[in-house]
Subunit: 535 residues, 2 copies
């Protein structure tokens, strides 16, 4: 150790004095790019996304067909007033301030059931961004439909991560149900590929049961409802043993009301029968009648190991609410007006104990002019970080040439590839929820679904090509008939028209055979066949 370093050495006591707690609001105020507020253009998109996601979750959970109204208005240079209104059930007074004024608060984090939100950060993050950039409070109007409207103005106290209420009024007399928020933020409005308008278009496709009206700075855009029923309601499920680690198991054992390990295993988890529970206890060397509170650490470790060796039923999948092929195709058709559309809804499966389901749609031609991929998670469009996303990786992993489509990572054709993951817990790569983490099982499921749709598109396209080839051949026969007639006329002096008619008649009569030959030849060339799913 050098002389100098000894002289300047600081004590632990000296260093301790600066230690302090960091509130989650302070953390995200300084790290707001983690919530999607990287820049002023993206900021507007993030706010709309958080507001609309909440509006759709609220209406859907209350089983109401959503009518969503959005307005973005420039009120000063790079300063916008945003209004988002829904026809949901409204919010009771006791919840308003925490929902909008506290980061990490909500109903969706703890329960195992599909919803758009899952972190309890989104809308309060928007309130935080507003007060940070313009200093403006957020205004909330909400009514649960009993003639009373709550009007609240609020901010977040970043030091405590608690709501700070500035105005709290009750307005009587107006009969309505729903919630409206008004947020004033710094931003820049653009209409490019990663914009509010693209987000709303994709939202309209993936939520075709919603009516969305958008008053943009450039005028009104309407996305009309295409189907008048909601997807089936997702049910809450219990956790599945396959996803349980030692830490969670320890906590659950302490908290359970089950009196024996057997009771604990069969009541606290999804689909664990008496037989499986006994198997687990036996393999772990535990008496299955022992109280969960009395089980020791080493026994918990053994139990978690034993779980991996016991075959368990998959978790129930009624916690998911997939779009179904009907809605995927309805959504793509209404917004893209394609020449051809196909889709598949894969059977639900599981990653890390969490159920999920993949749906893919491919729309071709019509008003679609180039290839693009729409990524969605729990019906929410993902517009950023595509390079990091499991969906992009799966799309790039498909051998499109095999399906008669040129192009390397994405087909070089006028197609929109729509990929939707439904899950009780989407593994996003960041708090801004822009990309799905690359679990092997998830990528594999997406690939299988893509291949299925690609095959159907390929058959359609080969049908077009077939029809074109056949028509072309027929044109040649017909042309040949005319020329033969001319030649025979010169040779025999017979009437040209008569000869031509005779030849055309032969072509017409023989056409069935000729066509069949052409079809077989064509199929051999394009090589369309059903792929093995286990590859």
């Amino acid at each position: 150790m050098t002389e100098e370093s000894v002289v300047n050495e600081k004590s632990a006591e000296h260093m301790a004095k600066d230690h302090r707690e960091i509130s989650i609001s302070q953390f995200f105020e300084k790290n707001r790019h983690l919530l999607g507020y990287d820049n002023k253009i993206k900021a507007l998109l993030t706010i709309i996304k958080e507001g609309v996601d909440n509006a759709l979750d609220a209406t859907e959970e209350a089983r109401i067909l959503p009518d969503i109204y959005i307005k973005i208005e420039e009120i000063d240079k790079e300063t916008y007033r945003i209004v988002i209104r829904d026809n949901g059930p409204g919010i009771i007074r006791a919840q308003i301030s925490k929902i909008f004024g506290k980061l990490l608060y909500g109903s969706k984090f703890h329960r195992l059931r599909q919803s758009r939100g899952q972190q309890g950060i989104g809308i309060s993050g928007a309130v935080l961004y507003a007060q940070l950039t313009t200093g403006e409070s957020t205004k909330i109007l909400t009514s649960t439909g009993k003639g009373k409207t709550h009007k609240i103005e609020m901010k977040i106290d970043v030091k405590t991560n608690e709501p700070k209420i500035l105005k709290d009024e009750v307005i009587d007399g107006k009969e309505w149900k729903g919630t409206q928020i008004t947020i004033v933020v710094e931003g820049i409005y653009r209409e490019h590929k990663q914009s509010v308008i693209e987000y709303l278009k994709q939202t309209a496709i993936s939520n075709p049961f919603a009516n969305i009206t958008f008053d943009s700075p450039n005028g009104r855009v309407e996305f009309k409802r295409a189907v008048d029923h909601l997807p089936k309601e997702p049910k809450e499920i219990k956790p599945h043993l396959y996803g349980i680690e030692v830490g969670i198991m320890t906590r659950m054992l302490q908290e359970t009301k089950g009196r024996s390990i057997l009771g604990f295993l069969t009541t606290e988890f999804s689909r664990v029968g008496k037989k499986s529970a006994e198997d687990i206890c036996k393999k772990a060397g535990i008496d299955d009648k022992i109280s969960p509170k009395k089980i020791e650490h080493s026994q918990i470790v053994e139990m978690v190991k034993a779980i991996k060796e016991v075959k368990l039923s998959r978790p129930p999948t009624d916690c998911l609410s997939p779009l179904t092929q009907e809605l995927v195709e309805a959504g793509l058709s209404k917004e893209l007006n394609p020449e051809f559309v196909t889709s598949i809804s894969r059977p639900p499966t599981v990653y890390r104990g969490w159920p999920f389901q993949i749906e893919v749609g491919i729309a071709y031609g019509g008003s679609i002019k180039e290839a693009s991929v729409m990524r969605l998670a729990n019906r929410v469009p993902l517009l950023y970080q595509s390079g990091d996303c499991a969906i992009s990786k799966a799309v790039a992993g498909v051998d499109w040439k095999r399906y008669g489509l040129s192009g390397d990572k994405i087909p070089d054709a006028p197609v929109t590839i729509f990929v939707h993951m439904s899950s009780v817990w989407v593994p996003f790569t960041s708090e801004s929820k822009e990309a799905i983490a690359s679990y092997t099982t998830i990528i594999k499921e997406i690939k299988l679904a893509l291949q299925d749709c690609a095959r159907k598109l390929s058959i359609y396209l080969s049908g077009i090509r077939k029809a074109e080839r056949i028509a072309e051949k027929r044109r040649i026969y017909e042309k040949y008939a005319h020329e033969t007639a001319v030649a025979l006329n010169e040779l025999t002096g017979d009437e040209k028209e008569k000869i031509e008619k005779a030849i055309l008649k032969i072509v017409e009569e023989k056409w069935g055979e000729i066509e069949q030959e052409l079809i077989e030849e064509n199929d051999k060339e394009t090589g369309v066949e059903k792929e093995d799913e286990n590859k």
Copy 2:
């Protein structure tokens, strides 16, 4: 609205009952991939990284030359015991439990001064991961050098995000200073490119004043200290006005002890003189003698606007502790043993009001066999998410061909490109701190530094090529001398040896001139020249 949806409609009251607070520990328990615990291989690296970063921060802050000991031991299948020990100042009892047992707690988040840690999440995240995967508590031994050692065993109560102390002992008699932590986790030990060993090697390069001993599952590896002094100590600075938004300004106005706006501006911020403060107030239409507490919202907005129009001095840069060219080159030389090394330390500059500084080193040849990039932030190696990182983008943005190096995004040559960003606040793209966000100013600075080093390498390489060419020419002259001698001997009958000697003498005498010509010709061909920084 359809009949069915009316029937099933749920009330706001019904929906309110599930709302709950989410503790930050619960949040990261479920989202542990955000902290770098994506998989078992990466988990070991993340823990070592968090532990070693803390050890280096503690020793450096206390001005002690670091001696760091690390041990990774497999104690069961995919289960490892990790020990990390430093010779730092130790931790006083009151702080131990919160530092290790509470996420979002620390000294580094609030102050503006360069350090490795900045979020107050790292080491408590490791404790959380241990209890989640193996259920084991974390053991801490620490002494501040007064003969007392604290021995603590602890976990985190995830529901409250508070430490849960399981053992709390004081051991007397042993004289030492420092901290040792023992963590037992699920993991997989590998020695590939993104591994613990690579992290330690890069740490040794960027912290050549540290002694690092690593007992790996495959044996001991030592990284010896190469210089025996620490980099200069960074000073804490005040915030700079250029980075201040309305929200922060509002809070600071409420909290200040300054009695007038003038006093507030000149004392709470970096480098704001009386003249600048008066200018800001004048442009914002505010009386500069008014109390900060009395200023209204619209005035704050005007003030923030005015700040953008007033020219302010840049913040002081003594909050930074760059490596200096000496340490960059010492580090690269000691670990890579290259044939050639060059470096540059750019002058400090500012992004969003935060000072930062870029240093680049390029090492060539020797034991380096292929091209690679080392990315570092505040002396910490970044091993993941390179595609997202400002450093990778800057490297790919350099036209390496211009410097006589083939290759597209990275030179196709045996080079190690070392890029280091020092800052009071590194804008990481996630909590796992693996990539630097792509601010234009940051990318530009890195590019300039890379170009400077590339030019120096190019001159060196052209020197080698030059020497090679000249030697080759000389060999040709010499060969020519011999052949000429043979021919002349046949022609004139003179002695071959005599003729050859005479020719060689002429070559020798004329060599200076020949060489100069060759050098000029060579320079013209390779086109080495100083680049314009403003391009």
